[in-house]
């Protein structure tokens, strides 16, 4: 019981500390802390409109994070996820622009195209890693650059819109392509995200595939000697993550921007890596953590608008909270180690 209390205390302490630091920070820039928290809350989750906006940004982030759960399980740092999002968006855009059809046909088509784009780009990183012995971090970074370059090229080149605002993106898609909304909520995008998180949760938890993937990630050599085709599993991880990233890109293009823009990925791939690390690779945690991130991002806009705070303040707050979460994680890990060491010592003495 006592131990349990202490554990809870240890989990809550960093939150309290982070909140305290956030208050100090706000006081330092002459912002009333309570009002600030209230503004962020009302500007992100507290009102129906803002909740809808925030959830739509949550979708690509949580999709990316769900994909990264898979690659991390396989022991891979899929830095190329940004590029996978971008290529997914590009393929979805191509379908949106070039393929005629009604909503019931064209929307699934864009989703499929986005997944295919992400899979191709994911597999490229995978092939470089598995057959070319190129570390997936470097290969992924390179592929990110290529993907972004391709998006920019398409926007100011072949898909350039007429007249003014040529760099802002392609022309808006026709209305049939836009993901449907009800009461401001992009229900289809939300459904996709929820299904994806649940699917990844069960994939990693209950299936032979997930188990083998974990074995490959935790100990490639042992897994290989156990007869698991490790190369194929790594490629599969890249492909699955790419598919989810491609979906994220599709949502960005067809539900959020309604066009292809140069920074279509929104940086959600890299942010997703942070989300997964903070969640300590547990699928169930990525949903609330991603929501927290996006609520803070969307909500902190109000600090600039209403209080005239510098636009960096939201990012600084986010950084402080992340730092404390990591510190707390570190402290717990250290405590854990310490315990084991004590246990070891007892064992030797006895």
């Amino acid at each position: 019981m006592n131990d349990r209390m202490r554990r809870i205390g240890l989990a809550v302490l960093p939150i309290v500390l982070a909140a305290a630091v956030a208050v100090l920070l706000l006081l330092a820039v002459d912002a009333p802390p309570l009002r600030s928290f209230n503004l962020v809350w009302n500007g992100s989750l507290g009102t129906t409109n803002k909740l809808a906006d925030t959830l739509l940004t949550w979708v690509p982030l949580v999709l990316a994070a769900a994909g990264l759960i898979i690659t991390f399980a396989a022991g891979l740092w899929n830095i190329g996820i940004e590029g996978q999002i971008v290529i997914g968006a590009i393929l979805a855009t191509w379908v949106a622009r070039e393929v005629p059809g009604e909503a019931y046909f064209i929307i699934p088509a864009t989703l499929l195209a986005g997944m295919i784009g992400g899979i191709i780009w994911g597999l490229l990183a995978g092939v470089l890693r598995v057959y070319g012995k190129v570390n997936e971090i470097f290969g992924g970074l390179g592929l990110d650059f290529v993907a972004t370059g391709l998006a920019v090229y398409l926007i100011i080149g072949p898909w350039q819109r007429a007249g003014v605002a040529s760099t802002s993106g392609t022309d808006l898609f026709r209305a049939e392509v836009w993901m449907p909304e009800v009461g401001g909520f992009s229900w289809l995008a939300l459904t996709i995200a929820v299904i994806a998180v649940i699917a990844v949760f069960f994939l990693m938890r209950g299936t032979a595939f997930g188990l083998k993937l974990k074995a490959v990630g935790a100990n490639n050599r042992s897994a290989f000697l156990l007869g698991i085709p490790t190369d194929r599993y790594m490629l599969a991880a890249f492909a699955l993550c790419g598919a989810l990233a491609g979906l994220a890109g599709t949502v960005q293009a067809t539900a959020f921007h309604h066009k292809l823009v140069p920074s279509i990925s929104g940086g959600y791939g890299f942010l997703g890596i942070l989300v997964v690390l903070l969640a300590a690779f547990r699928t169930a945690w990525i949903a609330p953590i991603a929501l927290f991130f996006m609520a803070l991002s969307v909500g902190s806009t109000q600090l600039s608008l209403r209080l005239g705070l510098d636009s960096a303040i939201g990012g600084v707050l986010q950084g402080v909270l992340v730092l404390f979460a990591l510190l707390a994680g570190g402290v717990q890990a250290k405590r854990h180690l310490g315990k084991r060491r004590v246990a070891g010592a007892t064992l030797v003495e006895s």
Binding site: G206, T207, A208, F209, L211, K212, K214, A215, A218, N219, R221, S222, A223, F224, L225, L226, G227, I228, P229, R340, G344, A345, L347, V348
Partner: protein, 485 residues
């Protein structure tokens, strides 16, 4: 002057890498530290050079007690360590590397220091050459000069002859002899008998984390071998060598791993036969095992299982043909840290279904845990098990029908009970026709369980012995590289 270590304990989890080590090294003597890989030599030297903090025990130099919490403490106390791979910064120049850690920025003084030391030992360096262009031997020389310049009074060399040429080795030995003669404390760590015999005035032998003996040199080689491997107490010869049909056939197989190349080896292993591979660690046993399981493709020659030519096929083909390989590193090359016993059994069963019936899997795991007397629960993770239980788990994970079982150090690190249990299992398999090839550093084990023993030395099979007609002395001689008349 003398360096003294008293009752040093260093444990990693349950592994007692150093278990009450006491050692005294006098100045002016070249002191060797001999032992098989895993005997605890490197751990001891890392404690001494501040990389690891000892769990308990005292270290003193010249009667003064030292508190070594970091390599910096050690170097300040005058203890310098030369690693297997010298810690140099490859893109930097010779002089830059020489100055590292010295706290001086005066290149002139450093250059003088380097030149003086180079003259003394017959090194020759161009100050501005990037260290990348130096051979490993030259990097060692530079590192020795650097440590001396930093004021080292104790020089520790951890397996320094790996990767340097014969002439560089001669030069290194000459340097060490000079240093010792000048009153320096020099500790030379090696698992190579010959080198210790060549170089050292005195040797301490370690086995299983303990000091098992110390002697002035020279002494007969077999005495050192006995210290390294333990006294042979077991009788030789045992029942049941089978002469069934051939399971494995190697013809003129030449292997190479970059570091070590083997001579052409031919070998036939019959159903139900047990072959022991003896030799100092790294003499070619592992290459042979890896070749027999498809992990290492031979440079020439052929490998066959039964009637089927397997040359050039991949691990999976061997695996599917009933070859099972259990390397020495149980947590590195067998089990998966973080996964539970249940999950290991699911993996080992090669589950082909997408969904796993976890309840059934847990039941099966519980049954196997009982059958194989594993101390753990279905939810225990692999790394939480002791070495013996890890080995039990690995054996429990083996498929029921195996044609050829290849093992490295089947009982290393196990208590007697677990070791006996392991061999009971293996012999039972053997009785059902499984051919077993195992490498071991335990002469008892080799003599007790093998039908035939192949003795490796420097990549060559120097002798094939009938285990019933040999004894520990002969085997010890052969392992040390001395042919027996």
């Amino acid at each position: 002057m003398a360096l003294e270590l008293v009752d040093i304990h260093k444990h990693f989890g349950r592994v007692r890498a150093n278990d009450g080590v006491t050692l005294r090294v006098e100045a002016g003597e070249l002191h060797g530290l001999l032992g098989e890989n895993g005997a605890g030599k490197s751990t001891l030297m890392k404690v001494l050079s501040g990389f690891h903090e000892a769990g308990s025990g005292e270290i003193s130099l010249d009667g003064e007690l030292l508190a070594l919490r970091s390599p910096r403490d050690a170097i300040e106390a005058g203890i310098g360590m030369l690693h297997q791979d010298p810690l140099v910064f490859l893109p930097f120049t010779v002089l830059d590397n020489f100055m590292l850690g010295s706290g001086t920025n005066d290149r002139g003084i450093a250059a003088e220091g380097l030149d003086e030391l180079s003259d003394r030992f017959g090194f020759s360096f161009d100050h501005d050459t990037p260290v990348r262009r130096l051979t490993v031997g030259e990097r060692q020389q530079l590192e020795i000069a650097r440590l001396l310049w930093l004021g080292a009074r104790v020089l520790i060399l951890d397996e320094p002859t790996t990767g340097i040429s014969a002439s560089q080795r001669e030069q290194l030995f000459a340097t060490l002899k000079t240093l010792a003669a000048e009153g320096m404390i020099v500790v030379f760590v090696s698992h190579k008998l010959e080198e210790i015999e060549d170089l050292c005035d005195r040797v301490t032998v370690m086995r299983l984390g303990k000091v098992v003996g110390e002697t002035r040199l020279p002494v007969p080689a077999e005495q050192l071998v006995e210290m390294m491997f333990g006294k042979i107490i077991a009788p030789t010869g045992r029942a049941g060598s089978s002469t069934g049909s051939t399971t494995l056939r190697l013809d003129d197989v030449v292997l190479g791993s970059g570091l070590l190349n083997t001579d052409a080896t031919s070998l036939g292993v019959s159903e139900g036969e047990i072959i022991g591979l003896a030799g100092l660690e790294g003499s070619g046993q592992r290459l042979l095992l890896e070749a027999c399981t498809g992990l290492l493709e031979p440079e020439s020659g052929s490998i066959a299982l039964g009637d089927k030519d397997m040359t050039g096929l991949a691990y999976r083909s061997y695996h599917e043909a009933g070859v099972h390989y259990l390397p020495a590193g149980r947590l590195e090359e067998g089990l998966v840290s973080g996964l539970t016993i249940t999950e290991h059994f699911v993996l080992a069963a090669g589950a082909s279904d997408f969904f796993v019936d976890w309840d059934a899997a847990a039941d099966r795991a519980a049954a196997l845990i009982e059958e194989f007397s594993i101390k753990g629960t279905p939810d225990s993770t692999a790394e939480s098990l002791s070495g013996g239980n890890q080995q039990r788990l690995l054996l429990a994970m083996m498929p029921p029908h195996i044609r050829l079982l290849l093992m490295e150090h089947p009982t290393r690190g196990l208590d007697i009970e677990s070791a006996d249990w392991v061999w009971t299992q293996l012999l039972e398999r053997r009785d059902h026709g499984t051919a077993v090839v195992f490498a071991s550093a335990d002469l008892d084990e080799l003599l007790l369980y093998s039908d035939r023993i192949l003795v490796f030395f420097a990549g060559r099979v120097i002798k094939e012995l009938d285990a019933r007609q040999t004894d520990g002395d002969q085997l010890g001689h052969l392992i040390g590289g001395r042919s027996v008349a």
